[in-house]
Symmetry: C2
Subunit: 334 residues, 2 copies
């Protein structure tokens, strides 16, 4: 990349923390966000890296946001931990809740973590990957802002509602996927708009509910779910799990509450962890799963989800970010 600024991973982390703290985030909130941003940069997942810092800062325009909140933990049932993010950001709430979730899952066989009242601008893969590094199978679900039409419908109702899954592997990074229920990420449409390119058919409808390949019309209209009504059922399930089940907001309610138009999704996250040792006292699940992965990879043209991120992690020595982003972050540090 020309016009880029080279940074080491610790410089990325420092820059993220410094800019957040300078903008009024407490040190624990800033460090937790910085950790997820650094993990994304480490893995080449640019759209969840330093690029996100201005979005976190922008979320403070909403007068309800508390950048210094201390999450509150409780245990409503023996296999459930709940963390109230108290209008702060999800990374710190997750940092607080994940060790408890791990402990409960190993004790009970399966356990759940509910995060409430949090701003969630991050990807979901860091939390499921973290749990799988601890030997657990994990799933995570969250709503978002209301951008996606239900199957057959003509206006936004669902968020891009991601679902993440991780499976632990021996001596290898976990298998991880983290996928939106929409065909594409909202950012992909924004990139097409910026580059003056048409979007593929099937990504979106315009504000009248008609199919469109115009990026601007798509952003004014609705994104579509992947796989038609099947993806729509999954988006609905995620609204119910991360919304009504845990007593938190649906995507459309999050959007309604965002009166300052920050675009930062507010609400809940639902995370599950299961201990495979419950069923495999000898750890046989590790080798068994590897047989499936071998079978899959023996077919030319296939790949394991998350593999690209892990290859980048191994191969990338320096992180390069655009000069313009670097300048923005330095300004935030003042």
């Amino acid at each position: 990349m020309s016009n880029g600024v080279k940074l080491s991973l610790s410089e990325v982390s420092q820059l993220a923390s410094d800019s957040l703290i300078a903008q009024g985030f407490s040190a624990p909130q800033a460090h937790a966000i910085s950790a997820t941003v650094s993990a994304a940069e480490r893995d080449g997942s640019t759209s969840h890296g330093l690029f996100r810092i201005p979005f976190y800062v922008n979320a403070l325009k909403n007068p309800n946001t508390d950048a210094t909140a201390t999450p509150v933990v409780d245990f409503p049932k023996p296999a459930v931990v709940r963390v109230d993010a108290c209008n702060g950001f999800c990374p710190l709430a997750l940092q607080t809740g994940l060790p408890e979730l791990s402990r409960l899952a190993k004790q009970q066989g399966i356990a759940a973590l509910a995060i409430n009242n949090g701003y969630n601008i991050a990807a979901l893969w860091p939390e499921v990957e973290h749990l799988a590094e601890d030997g657990l199978v994990a799933m995570a679900f969250t709503c978002a802002s209301s951008y996606v039409a239900p199957a057959g419908g003509n206006k936004p109702l669902f968020g891009t509602n991601p679902m993440a899954f991780a499976w632990p592997r021996k001596d290898k990074p976990p298998l991880v996927f983290d996928q939106a229920s929409s065909v594409c990420a909202r950012g992909e449409i924004q990139l097409h708009l910026r580059d003056g390119k048409a979007i593929p058919e099937g990504w979106a409808i315009d504000k009248h509910g008609e199919p469109t390949t115009d990026a601007a019309a798509a952003l004014e209209g609705s994104q579509l779910t992947f796989g038609g009504y099947k993806g729509s059922s999954i988006a609905l399930m995620i609204e119910l799990l991360a919304g009504a089940l845990i007593g938190d907001l649906f995507s459309y309610e999050s959007t309604e509450k965002d009166t300052a138009g920050t675009g930062a999704p507010f609400g809940g996250e639902f995370v599950l962890a299961i201990d495979p040792g419950t069923f495999n006292a000898d750890g046989g699940h590790f080798a068994h799963a590897e047989q499936l992965f071998e079978q899959l990879l023996s077919q030319e043209g296939t790949r394991l989800p998350g593999g690209k991120r892990h290859r980048t992690r191994q191969q990338q020595s320096d992180i390069v970010i655009p000069e313009s982003l670097h300048t923005t972050l330095l300004e935030l540090c003042r």
Copy 2:
């Protein structure tokens, strides 16, 4: 339907039980299967109704199948119940395990049921619907026979791997979906073959890995996952949950074990149940979810998953089955 035989629901149930018992199934195995078959006929879900009885009988050609097995229950961890179907059929294993799963979910907040070593020819919606009728949120996953290519691949690896979800409603049947990870059910391709019709593009590839609209070539080749690589990730997740996690078979292993070619999937099923009361002591989740459903249905062209089945349940008085199927079942009763 002309040439049909009219049956009451109790006659459906009796005919199913009688034919299975006459073919060597124990009364408990036969009655549990009969209950799922009757529920399907009641809801107009013909493909999982009496039509399935000959498939159950055919599964006995596999010398490992035990039509008189008594499931064995254990509790490996406080929030987990495991039922060994002992080479019998899943309906009886589920009937044995579901009350325990309900009890644990209410006690622990979340719980899991693993079924092992079972033949699973039934749909998954009856178990999640049953749990939701008991006030719980439920999910179920199972592998199948190896018919589906992974994204980018060219031959079968995954099963049609369904995932089911149910949400409890007050004074209404639960919201339920039960969807394959493949674009379509295998039976839909078989119906196109029978009727001499081409299948839509995107359903399948032939044995050389090339796209095909020929139903016979599709059945010899591979079905495709819904939504491309996203559906493929879900199919992979289901293999891991219902296979390696609970110490049971992957779809391709089930197919390899089916040396008699019965086509009856053998292996595990993984069921989750979550008590929404854990997070909503006042039952507020009911009304909250209804607001989402209203928002969804206010968009013309949308529907709630499972709605058609529940409407049929209310409206259908008599069940009509083809004369040929009726004759087959009477022959099985002899």
